[in-house]
């Protein structure tokens, strides 16, 4: 169920009517959020709801355990029973074909009981660590099996084959559950934060389940920390006319970025990446610029829509993108691109590895490792690993050259603008090369595309330039305004007449220029 489809609008119309009618009953409203989120996810594949439920049950118990509490028998039994009942309900009508999922959950519940028995006699410190480890194993295990198993199995078989050893195994036919990278990271952060004494665990399974499955951000983020989102389930949400209208405006802007800009530009990018050998260098540059705008609009558009929907419901989600293409350095870029992931990686991986507390060499190692794993988070392919390494290398090189320090030194206004323009343009170029690695179908495709970019092959394939400009120019103008007003929702600073014209432009663009083919959100695959 994509946000910009009539199916979602129908779903949301029914949902929000019920939601508003339950405004006085917080628990019932939370239950509705949970049920709606499960329905929303089941629209893709109800079997994979089981994974969300397993993750939820695990982190509910692990969260309590990681805080140092002994898990009561009643709590464990209730959680196990709800897990089995929830899975039974989700798999109910397809039980004949999906019974093995249920069998796996039964086995999992058995392992859970074993873990409880093992943890009970442990001393508190050890027990806390034990439950955090359980959360890590289960969540990263789900991610490993469903996202990375085939990648590593294939890679190992390829490596062995190069060494003359034929490994006879076959890879598993596993579909990638939508959004698994997002919700597993979200649940992990909950337990880790409790383990680090940064928050208290909740005893309310319903609210925790609703937080983990919260449909506006379930399948493509932002990866919300429990510290920010979970407390919002425990107080009555404020629903005002202003929140509804600004939420709708945010949703519309996100939809414009996704359905109009990203989807239309995907035609240009797909053509270029499908046959880079047959295109001129100019055509390849146009294709790469198109992808650079496409991926930004696709992902930030989804985040805006998620924030808009959540705001209508009375929730506040974090800002996930803050003008990343106006960055002068990689550190500025990562403060503006997929902020929820980059801060997650910073807090739970980079700092965990030691951050910048050690020698320079250790800091560089930590940066590289964090970015390589961040690359792998995006997808199970060597191009993503290479992209992560490339981003890590840029971070290290800028750090070695102390570019951030140099940029912090004040200059006269003219020189300051010139310096910003040059550094911004250069870093935009580096970002585009990064997207080339990211988007390439495989290493061969990357190599051909890269060669073609700089081969100065005949000028041609410029037919799509008009479409590129038509899509990119309004976005750039809006971003300049956002930078000027230092506010993403800058429109409230405009005179009413101008503001309504902006709204009309966005609305009519959505109505008339929405791409008619099927293009999923790029980040659904992550």
């Amino acid at each position: 169920m994509l946000f910009h489809t009539s199916t979602f609008f129908l779903f949301f119309a029914i949902f929000i009517a019920l939601y508003f009618s339950l405004q006085r009953y917080l628990s019932a409203q939370n239950l509705l959020v949970l049920a709606g989120s499960y329905v929303f996810y089941a629209a893709w594949d109800e079997r994979f709801l089981v994974l969300i439920m397993v993750s939820t049950a695990t982190d509910y118990i692990a969260g309590l355990g990681a805080s140092g509490r002994q898990i009561e028998r009643k709590t464990a039994l209730k959680t196990g029973a709800l897990l089995l009942a929830g899975c039974g309900l989700a798999l109910g009508w397809t039980f004949a074909s999906s019974w093995h999922f249920f069998a796996a959950v039964v086995a999992f519940t058995g392992f859970g009981a074993l873990a409880l028995r093992m943890a009970a006699p442990m001393e508190e410190k050890k027990r806390r660590k034990f439950w955090m480890t359980v959360s890590l194993i289960v969540n990263l295990g789900l991610l490993g099996v469903f996202k990375y198993f085939n990648f590593f199995a294939d890679s190992l078989a390829g490596l062995a084959s190069a060494g003359g050893i034929e490994l006879g195994w076959t890879t598993l036919q596993i579909a990638l559950p939508v959004g698994i990278s997002f919700y597993t990271f979200q649940t992990l952060s909950y337990t880790i934060d409790i383990y680090r004494d940064r928050m208290k665990p909740t005893e309310k399974l319903l609210e925790l389940a609703a937080y983990i499955a919260f449909f506006p951000q379930l399948v493509a983020g932002p990866i919300e920390r429990a510290r920010n989102l979970l407390p919002q389930f425990f107080k009555r949400r404020e629903i005002t006319f202003e929140r509804i209208t600004t939420g709708m405006a945010l949703f519309a802007w996100g939809m414009y970025k996704k359905a109009v800009i990203a989807d239309n530009l995907s035609i240009i990018a797909n053509d270029a990446f499908a046959n880079p050998a047959g295109m001129s260098s100019v055509g390849l540059w146009i294709g790469l610029i198109a992808f650079t705008f496409q991926i930004y609009c696709d992902f930030s558009g989804y985040s805006d829509m998620a924030r808009g929907v959540a705001r209508i419901m009375g929730f506040d989600l974090m800002v996930n993108f803050r003008l990343p293409y106006f960055s002068r350095t990689p550190s500025e870029f990562w403060r503006g691109w997929h902020i929820s992931l980059s801060t997650w990686l910073r807090d739970y991986l980079y700092i965990g590895l030691g951050g910048n507390r050690g020698s320079s060499l250790l800091t560089y190692r930590n940066l590289l490792l964090t970015m390589v794993l961040g690359g792998l988070w995006h997808g199970a392919a060597w191009t993503f690993v290479l992209w992560g390494f490339y981003q890590g290398m840029i971070l290290v090189l800028y750090r070695v050259a102390r570019i951030d320090d140099w940029l912090a030194k004040p200059l006269s206004p003219v020189l300051e603008y010139s310096r910003s323009a040059v550094t911004m343009a250069f870093f935009f170029f580096l970002t585009m090369i990064g997207w080339l690695i990211f988007r390439a179908n495989d290493m061969g495709n990357l190599s051909i595309y890269f060669d073609g970019l700089f081969a100065l092959r005949a000028i041609g394939d410029t037919g799509s330039l008009a479409l590129l400009l038509k899509m990119a120019v309004p976005l750039v103008l809006v971003q300049i305004a956002q930078a000027h007003y230092k506010e993403l929702e800058f429109q409230y600073n405009l005179a009413p007449f101008l503001r309504y014209n902006v709204y009309l432009f966005v609305l009519f663009s959505i109505v008339a220029l929405t791409y008619q083919g099927d293009v999923e959100f790029i980040y659904f695959d992550f």
Partner: protein, 374 residues
Amino acid sequence: MIVLIVLLSPVYIVLFGELFMRLFAGVALMPRYVTGADDGIRMNIPNAVYGQTSREVDVEVRINSVGMRADREFTFEKPDGTCRIAVLGDSFFMGYEVEIEDSFSHLLEANLAEQNVNCEVLNFSVSGFGTAEYVVAMESRVLPYNPDLVIFELHETDLSENVISDLYRVEDGALVKTGNNYLPAIAVRDKLMQYGVYRWLIEHSQLYSVVREHAGKNVKKLLLVKNTVKAFFNKDAQPEQDTPKEVDTTGPVELLVKLLERGRDLSVQNGAEFLLVDIPNGFDPPNYFSVLDRQLKDSDLHSRFNLVSPLATFTDPANADTLYYYQTGHLHLSIDGNKVVSKVAADAIINQKLLDHRTTFTSAAPTSAATLEE
């Protein structure tokens, strides 16, 4: 002041929208001049003349006095020494976005004339039709003209159109007429068409065109959901039947196959041959695809029907630069697309001897092929 703003706002929005469409969208104007007919389905408004424009085309559509897209009239009686082919399709076969001389039916006539076969091709197509409407139109509109060959268009949209129209259902493995009419928004349209302002709007307003297309698509989606749910519950209410193994029994596919069989049987019973012409999907050139290779891949239509498809020509790498569908209108066949479809249909008619059951049509000399050459 506030009252003035409230009153003027809708006017301003409409003007802004129209200007936006013209400056940024370049929306195609594809008005449909259809009305309801006595047989409970749509027909082209008799004697209508209207334009269709997009960034690629500017054409005129003329309808004759009985609702065929034709620049002449036909009598029920066939002229001596001339065979008759009836064509039933939607906007593809009706020749949307091309002049009548470049439409499938005209080019087919010219192609056959080139091969010394004197035939007149009667085009009964109506934009938006599906197979169910072809079958209804066969009985009420086509058979009185005593055709020697009936051609049905086959397109991916037929699968949903047949469910949406709900004119026929499959019950107990048999095709059953529901007795329903299918005249979507015709009453409103008929009323509005009485006003010159509305007629001007549908031919000139890009904003109106966009709004109408969106509304139409969404209404169709709702109808599809409604009828699918209805069919689902009807199916549950019926006892299980033994269905032939070779037939795909998923609802829309089974319905489509049964309707095609009905069309073929009606043709044969009335002494006519039957030909099915596949129109591939042209949304993403050159990645054309046919419903035959997707939803209908298990239905084995090739062994059950005389069936031709231009897909091989469309997807031939040698033709990669040829534009078979216009991309800025409503994705209809271009002149080149129509030429290929009519050629494969004409070749099939000759090679499969579909007109040989009546052998008196061959003329001594070929008639003018000027149309084709144009």
